[in-house]
């Protein structure tokens, strides 16, 4: 199998791979679905911002404030270019979680097409991470709106057989993940987007597991909002992105109130700045935005299509290996169709924590448990899974250690 990427060169950009794990083992990092490692270029960008550009953006009239503002707005332009949208449509948040909360709270405060009130319907799916479930679930509770959802099939796809009953004329918002963080399955969102738009509803795409790993064509998908988190895309923590259609953003009420997001303020009233400033109260995470821009530049230089195809090669190799091990069951999609580079599995009747503990002895970092998607895990009749997720810095040797450690975990408990 020939790599479409120069993984050795990529790996050398990530200092963390030089850190010895328990027992001096080399790090086999298979938890990029939770957070990615950072290349030196991203750290340098943050360091450079603090070393040469640091001042509060959009405030001072002095030179340094101008440079800082240019760096921050330059980062916004980089994100816009990466997503191929207008830069005024890019809102920096602290995380994808905050982006989704921003939407839910803003919709509650807004009126017209975007406003949520009693009797309206909000649609999610059983695949959702808690971050794309709880903001909508709680919004429904607060407003008297009705939360509905698409059910999940055993292979991790969504049951769209009753799509007209799930999305009705009362539906105002549909929020669905682009790819399950637990199973790696990519639901067929095209008919859902079409059904949402047919009844005038807004479609929100949770791109946390897709945007860092593959080209995402916002215009082609015809969605209304998209979010992803910086730290899963080689970027720093503390920075997330919300993209929205500008005509919708202009109708939305603010989420957080404070400095920078206003037009005028009196003791009794205020009016709001246009987007994106309206949604960026307070001094923003400037260095993190600059770091994220460097991360996206890094991804673009390698090429999102190359990254995706390499991850699928790793997934194919790992799936085959796991499926050949007696006692191991891959959970969710069994093949390569409609999935990304995330694999969940269970071993015998072992609890995933015990599995992960043994795998750790091999230097393998995997996620264990319910993966912040408890309803999905319950639906599968499980208490948790062990999850391996791949990224551009993983190679076939990593998969070999994964398989060796899975065998090791199985045998450790079988023989005792």
């Amino acid at each position: 199998m020939k790599s479409t990427l120069d993984v050795a060169a990529i790996k050398s950009d990530f200092p963390i791979f030089d850190v010895p794990m328990r027992g001096g083992k080399r790090l086999v990092f298979l938890d990029s679905g939770a957070t990615s490692q950072k290349p030196i270029q991203v750290m340098d960008a943050e360091r450079n911002f603090y070393s040469t550009q640091n001042a509060a953006v959009h405030r001072g009239s002095y030179y340094l404030a101008e440079i800082a503002s240019e760096a921050y707005e330059g980062a916004r332009e980089s994100v816009a270019k990466f997503l191929q949208v207008k830069s005024e449509e890019i809102i920096f948040t602290k995380s994808a979680t905050e982006s989704l909360n921003l939407l839910a709270v803003s919709f509650e405060r807004s009126s017209g097409r975007l406003g949520i009130k009693a009797g309206d319907e909000i649609v999610v799916s059983e695949l959702e991470h808690h971050a794309n479930l709880l903001p909508w679930q709680q919004l429904a509770k607060r407003t008297g709106a009705v939360l509905k959802w698409f059910e999940m099939n055993a292979d991790g796809s969504l049951d769209l057989s009753r799509i007209d009953e799930v999305i009705t004329s009362k539906c105002k918002v549909v929020a669905i993940t682009h790819q399950s963080n637990v199973l790696g399955s990519a639901p067929d969102i095209a008919p859902i987007i079409a059904a949402a738009h047919a009844v005038g509803a807004i479609f929100v795409l949770d791109g946390c597991q897709s945007v860092p790993h593959q080209p995402v064509d916002i215009k082609g998908l015809d969605i209304d909002f998209l979010t992803f988190s910086g730290h899963k895309a080689l970027g720093p923590t503390g920075i997330g992105v919300l993209w929205g259609r500008s005509e919708l953003l202009e109708q939305m009420e603010p989420f957080l109130y404070g400095g920078s997001m206003i037009e005028t303020v009196t003791m009794t009233n205020a009016t709001w700045a246009p987007s994106p400033k309206r949604f960026e109260a307070g001094v923003p995470n400037m260095a993190q935005a600059v770091g994220l821009a460097a991360a996206l530049d890094y991804l673009s230089a390698v090429g999102l299509s190359n990254i995706h195809s390499w991850e699928m090669q790793l997934t194919e190799y790992a799936l085959k290996g796991l499926q050949e091990i007696d006692g191991v069951s891959v959970v969710g999609p069994q093949g390569l169709a409609n999935r990304g580079g995330v694999i969940s599995f269970v071993i015998d009747k072992l609890h995933p924590h015990d599995v992960g503990q043994v795998m750790d002895q091999y230097g393998v970092a995997v996620r264990t448990g319910h993966h912040c998607a408890w309803p999905l895990i319950r639906k599968l009749g499980l208490t948790g899974t062990t999850r391996a997720s791949f990224y551009l810095y993983n190679d076939l040797a990593d998969v070999d250690v994964l398989l060796e450690s899975v065998l090791g975990a199985r045998d450790y408990f079988r023989k005792r």
């Binding site: 027992g23 995933p352 015990d354 002895q361 208490t383």
Partner: protein, 145 residues
């Protein structure tokens, strides 16, 4: 292997054949969860003449959480509330010691096998789940812990 200090024989024995595990029937039932991993335990007990009795628990979780609940239930059943409290304190101290304190065997009996868990910060909560459920249930049954 470092792993063997975590998964001692006695722990795996309790995991495979947990003691006092069944359907809790007491009037007061406590339900504790470890939200990080989804481990759950339901536990009930009675306090008669100052002694812990009728302790029954049910739950799902990893080998550490299940074995620890089993060992705890074996240890405190039939003991006076005062002795159970001493054991609870000793166990908590051992768990918070980051591998530095092995615990007194005359107080903890089989539970000293869990000393190795305290070297793995992510697993300490697993080991404490059953014990915290016991503490809660005892207090709700009028014990002063």
């Amino acid at each position: 292997m470092e792993l063997d200090s975590l998964y001692q024989e006695v722990i795996l024995d309790h995991y495979k054949k947990p003691h006092h595990k069944g359907l809790p029937t007491g009037e007061i039932q406590v339900h504790h969860v470890n939200p990080n991993c989804g481990d759950e335990i339901t536990l009930s007990l009675a306090i008669r003449d100052g002694k812990v009795e009728d302790l029954v628990w049910d739950g799902v979780g990893c080998s550490i959480s299940q074995a620890s609940a089993s060992i705890m239930s074996e240890l405190v059943s039939g003991k006076s509330v005062a002795d159970a409290q001493i054991a609870l304190q000793e166990f908590t101290e051992m768990m918070q010691s980051k591998g530095k304190y092995q615990g007194k065997e005359e107080i903890l009996e089989d539970a000293v096998a869990l000393a190795g868990v305290s070297k793995f910060p992510a697993r300490v909560k697993c080991a404490l789940l059953g014990w915290m459920a016991f503490k809660d249930a005892a207090i709700q049954n009028g014990a002063e812990l």
